[in-house]
């Protein structure tokens, strides 16, 4: 009997180890498949995989990737944030206004980021304080943030005086030894940082706990209400940074930009193995998810395929990724 149990235990452990890798490996294989596929069908792998093209793809990914870092935390906690696109627009507008008000660029960046955090704080407070489910709370905020962005900008895109902010996501970085745009490096640093926070801090483990079993977390003395406010505020900061990047790309604060970005961001997290029922998800997976979509878009563009083809393919990929996950993952 005893032997049986410990053997079963070993098998289980091996299984979970394998599964952990499969969870990351799955999306990674998907990414490779997409890249190989388009390298082949575009007929010119050297062009598709050129440093030039990779620079383009990566700088196109920055906004979704940075947002996906914040969204991963929210989704692991069992929540959702639909106000991402609007928050990005609002943060971009605020950054632009700050620059034009003559503030130091670094202060402008801080202001844009902080506005994102503030929106997240309000989201979290509504969810915790008023007991409105995240879907509805952030659906409301989607409108509020977008409207505020339009109000603040007078419904017009705000052109900004050129500063170094405009160079954050350029295709050719200056200085050239950076190889990739500064924004890409910022995204990488943020991703690594958040992955460590999720894995190695009490806050991170509590995010998993609340998403896995909120009642248990509360019974253990975790203040779930406060924790949620932290989670949405933190995610908001990331959306704020994404907003700064968005402004940098357009070189203007556009209140109508990034409509629907939240869906790309959620898709990235879900393709990367995040579970909308909470308790599951990794930053690495989400980043790969964001890259899969970016490489797909880019490949379709190179093939000269229409926008709607991309939309259909990405839709199919989301469903496939989640379906594969359902088959693969254990019933917990």
């Amino acid at each position: 009997m005893d032997i049986d149990v410990s053997q079963a235990m070993d098998v289980e452990l091996r299984e979970t180890f394998l599964r952990k890798w499969l969870n990351v490996l799955g999306p990674f294989l998907g990414l490779i498949a997409v890249i190989v596929l388009f390298a082949l069908i575009t007929g010119s792998p050297e062009k598709y995989l050129s440093l030039f093209n990779i620079r383009i793809v990566l700088s196109q990914t920055v906004i979704v990737a940075i947002s996906a870092i914040g969204m991963t935390v929210v989704i692991i906690s069992g929540g959702i944030d639909l106000a991402v696109g609007s928050t990005i627009a609002l943060a971009g507008v605020v950054t632009a206004l700050s620059i034009n008000a003559g503030l130091d660029p670094i202060v402008a960046v801080a202001a844009g980021t902080a506005v994102g955090g503030l929106v997240g704080f309000v989201n979290g407070s509504i969810i915790s304080g008023l007991r409105v489910v995240p879907f509805i709370a952030t659906l409301g905020m989607l409108g509020i943030a977008r409207g505020t962005a339009k109000l603040a900008s007078g419904q017009q895109p705000i052109d900004v005086t050129p500063t170094w902010i405009n160079n954050l996501v350029v295709t050719f970085p200056d200085p050239p030894w950076l190889l990739l745009a500064p924004g890409i490096w910022i995204a990488v640093i943020l991703a690594v940082g958040m992955a460590l926070v999720l894995r190695n801090t009490v806050f991170g483990r509590r995010v998993f706990a609340i998403g896995s079993n909120e009642a248990a977390a509360r019974a253990c003395g975790i203040s779930t209400d406060k924790l949620k406010i932290w989670i949405y505020s933190l995610a908001g900061l990331f959306f704020g940074i994404a907003g700064v990047m968005q402004m940098s790309r357009l070189r203007q604060g556009d209140p109508t930009v990034a409509a629907g970005t939240e869906l790309d961001v959620i898709a990235a997290v879900v393709i990367g193995g995040g579970s909308l029922s909470g308790g599951q998800g990794t930053i690495l997976g989400s980043m790969i998810g964001a890259l899969i979509m970016a490489f797909l878009r880019n490949g379709c563009q190179q093939m000269g395929w229409a926008n709607y083809i991309q939309e259909i393919i990405i839709g199919a990929i989301i469903i496939t990724a989640v379906a594969i996950d359902r088959i693969r993952s254990p019933k917990i």
Binding site: N200, A216, S223, I332
Partner: protein
């Protein structure tokens, strides 16, 4: 001085008084049984003590000092830990993370995995479950192992008082024994335990003293050795229950074999089950938990696909794997799941919806639901089964466990099933509800229904059944008349082939 002293605790939820004056005095290192029917207020009382709910009236003294926890964390800091009836663990996290949840004691917020696992391991080593590894995923552990994790979690916060709400409801016999030796160990270390249970045998085995709750009031307290079981039952229900198991009126109609199962198998849980079920009889299935009884019922009902075997319903034989719940319902088979909340009832829907869901046809016309009819049909059945609720419109989740179970049984009555597969129909419910359910089962058998009764509670099987078979490691024994069995024989049979199997490895 008592460790914890409750005086005149009262709590209302809207119109209902959940607690209406409870006194309880808990001494250091004692195991204090809290006994009472479901709905008597035990869970509310636990929540008051553990900071989940604040009382409206009354005083709590912890080691002589007034105690009024602001939230569960506050209670935990005061050394009070609640172990829930339904395990409350985070399935996606590791054993160590679950044990140390809330008391991680981080260095600058940094989560020291090695240290956490080391501390968890030290707590785990108190138990004879050395195979629970701190880094294992909790979702993959057995219920018994999960419970050990829960208890360790309570101890991780240096609990001085542990509240256990029906801790054995998800455990097997061996694990119950382990749990009891653990409780004794805790109490020897000076930790006080409030132990909630329906099983008086259990209470007798483990508790030093008791308090009986009835209708939110503490009606009786004292040393457990000073009182008899029938006294306790009398205190719980407020009347004496002499005979829990009703007298049976034999079925007088034509005999017919309504269900015949042949060599059903669904490895690894179920290897071979063969039996016949006749009108008017109650056929008991005994066995240890995990022996394959539930799997058998599910396979017969077509929820899980068996690998082999045939099922004959009223003379029509089919390969068992062709069964589906929809087909079985049409054939007049009803199934009561052991997992009432998980797959038995739709908790958010009304009582009426839950009762009529398997046969909406009775209260609808061309797909249009006649709600008045639905209500009246449901109310009738609610009366028959003495479901205590304000109306049939009430969501099922607002009912106590016993009343929920009555709703689940009412559904089978509404369905007018000829064959009833009942899986643990009285588990975890109060004695009053049990009595009603026993009467209902006996009455159904008298009307010519065929009943398969799966139960882990031997007195229930012996009190109710005509014939009995024992499931052991997925193999169903030959059915014999109940008179040919004794409780010892059943247990021996359940355990014996267990030993044989182990020898066979």
């Amino acid at each position: 001085m008592p460790t914890l002293d409750l005086r005149d605790i009262a709590k209302r939820f809207g119109q209902t008084a959940a607690l209406a004056g409870v006194d309880l005095s808990l001494k250091e290192g004692e195991v204090h049984a809290l006994i009472g029917e479901n709905g008597a207020g035990k869970s509310t009382l636990m929540n008051v003590i553990s900071g989940g709910v604040r009382q409206d009236r009354g005083l709590m003294l912890l080691r002589g000092m007034p105690y009024s926890p602001a939230d569960p964390l506050d209670a935990r800091k005061n050394g009070i830990a609640l172990i829930h009836q339904e395990l409350s663990l985070a399935a996606h996290l590791s054993v160590a993370e679950n044990i140390m949840m809330g008391v991680e004691d981080p260095r600058f917020g940094w989560f020291d995995r090695k240290e956490i696992e080391r501390r968890a391991d030290r707590l785990l080593s108190n138990f004879e479950h050395s195979n629970i590894r701190p880094d294992a995923l909790v979702g993959k552990l057995s219920p018994a192992a999960q419970q050990v994790v829960e208890i360790c979690r309570a101890l991780a916060a240096n609990a001085k008082i542990v509240l256990m709400d029906e801790p054995t409801s998800s455990l097997q016999r061996d694990d119950v024994k382990n749990l009891f030796s653990l409780i004794k160990k805790l109490s020897a270390d000076g930790i006080s335990i409030i132990y909630i249970s329906h099983f008086l045998e259990e209470v007798r085995e483990i508790a030093d003293s008791f308090t009986v709750l009835r209708d939110g009031k503490s009606v009786s307290t004292g040393k457990i050795t000073d009182v008899t079981d029938s006294f306790l039952i009398g205190q719980m229900v407020g009347r004496s229950v002499d005979n829990l198991y009703p007298k049976r009126n034999p079925y007088s109609g034509e005999s017919e074999t309504v269900l015949e199962v042949n060599d059903l198998s669904l490895p690894p849980a179920l290897h071979s089950a063969t039996f016949k079920l006749e009108r008017g009889e109650i056929f008991g299935i005994a066995g240890l938990m995990g022996a394959g009884r539930t799997e058998m019922a599910r396979a017969i009902f077509g929820i899980d696909k068996p690998n082999s075997g045939t099922v004959t319903v009223k003379g029509r034989t089919m390969i068992a794997s062709g069964g589906k719940p929809a087909l079985r319902l049409l054939q007049g088979i009803g199934y009561l799941s052991e997992d009432r909340k998980g797959e038995g009832l739709t908790l958010k829907l009304s009582i009426a919806d839950n009762i009529t869901i398997t046969r909406y046809g009775a209260c609808s016309r061309f797909g249009w639901l006649d709600q008045a009819k639905q209500r009246s049909l449901s109310s009738e059945l609610m009366q028959t089964l003495d479901v205590r609720a304000k109306s049939s419109e009430q969501p099922v989740q607002t009912l106590s466990g016993g009343n929920q179970q009555k709703v689940a049984i009412a559904r089978l009555l509404h369905q007018e099933a000829d064959v009833l597969l009942l899986d643990e129909p009285t588990r975890g419910i109060d004695i009053g509800s049990k009595a009603v359910i026993y009467e209902t089962i006996a009455e159904l058998a008298g009307r010519g229904k065929a009943i398969m009764l799966i139960s882990s509670y031997l007195p229930e099987l012996f009190g109710m059944c005509d014939r009995l078979a024992v499931m052991t490691r997925g193999r169903l024994s030959t059915a014999r008349a109940i008179g040919e069995w004794t409780p010892e024989l059943v247990l021996k049979s359940a355990i014996n082939s267990d030993a044989n199997n182990t020898n066979g490895h």
